[in-house]
Amino acid sequence: MEKQKFLGELRKELRWTFAKEETEDILRDYEGFFAAGASEGKTDAEICADLGSPPGVALSLAETLGKKRPFSRKAAIRAGAAALLLIPNLLYFLLGNGNPAVTCAALLVETAALWSVLGFFPPVARRRTGAGRWPVLCGHLLLGGLTTAAAAWFWSRSEVLALGNGGASVDTAGILFAASAAAIAVFGIVWFYKRSAQAFTLTVHALGAVGYVSAAGAVFSRLSDPDAFNAGMREALWIYLFALLLTAFVAALIRDLGKRVK
């Protein structure tokens, strides 16, 4: 990586955690390290390798200096806007509507909005934790797919709320449910011991993936029938809210454990 690219990326990473003056101070120091390395005859690539990746540098600084990753002002505004977006969507879900396409669009907005509020939207989460792009994305997709099946299975068997039948067959979905639970547990535990900040985010991602995909099961099982489709969407919303609560709880638990271990 070249010096300018490294510094540019580092600036982006640091912005999430540090005040502007402190960010600039750190960047001046790193510029100095590049200059000092160059005077020893090292190439930019070698210097970068010794310094570590920009997300890693930012994470290391944040942890060592005891900075929480706070909501910046920008994030607060975004959260506020997202919360406003939620109101019509929630009303829409609660009142119901006959048009599957509109319901789909509403659910997408809902998902993005909720994740923005929580600050766990994938690009943001990646930037904050320094986790690689692919682990985050693959974790989303893999666990998302598995949790969809789990959600479909759960709701197909549930008669408590009498919300109808899900589309997935119980046997297949049951196996997938067990597999997804195990995957989430393994992910959480492994990452917890490796680095608590990443364990936190990845477990949040794993559990939160229910929200992204619970809709998918409902959509695919009910595309032919608009009424059933909308009933499915309402189920998806309940699953989603449940998943969010669970996520928040587990996240808090892991963060707390992480603090105690340190």
Binding site: I26, R28, D29, E31, G32, F33, A35, A36, G37, D50, L51, G52, G56, V57, S60, L61, E63, T64, L65, G66, K262
Partner: protein
């Protein structure tokens, strides 16, 4: 510092404090020195420790204007830093002797 914290975090901090105990040292040189002894740790880890030491008053910095390139920050230990170093070393000795007493050498 508790023994547990000493093991987890204190060792690198102790070593960084030790490298700046006698004279002002350029941050990059501290990082290079530390890297020689801990090759698997990124240089930025030591930079983060230097910043923390500066933030908690264990180290002072002075800037020197370079004729070509950005200013360099030199780190120097303070009285408080020396006291911390002393405590860290005592803690480290306790850990070391406990480990050795178990028969691990």
């Amino acid at each position: 510092m508790t023994m547990e914290a000493q093991i987890k975090k204190g060792v690198l901090e102790m070593c960084v404090l030790f490298t700046i105990r006698e004279k002002e040292t350029y941050g990059y040189d501290v990082m290079r020195t530390m890297r020689r002894f801990f090759p698997e740790v990124n240089e930025s880890t030591f930079y983060a420790i230097l910043r923390r030491l500066h933030a908690d008053g264990s180290a002072l910095t002075t800037q020197s204007g370079e004729s070509n390139g950005p200013p360099r920050k030199y780190y120097r230990i303070t009285e408080a830093g020396l006291a911390t170093l002393q405590k860290n070393i005592e803690g480290w000795r306790r850990v070391k002797s406990a480990v050795e007493e178990m028969g691990i050498r």
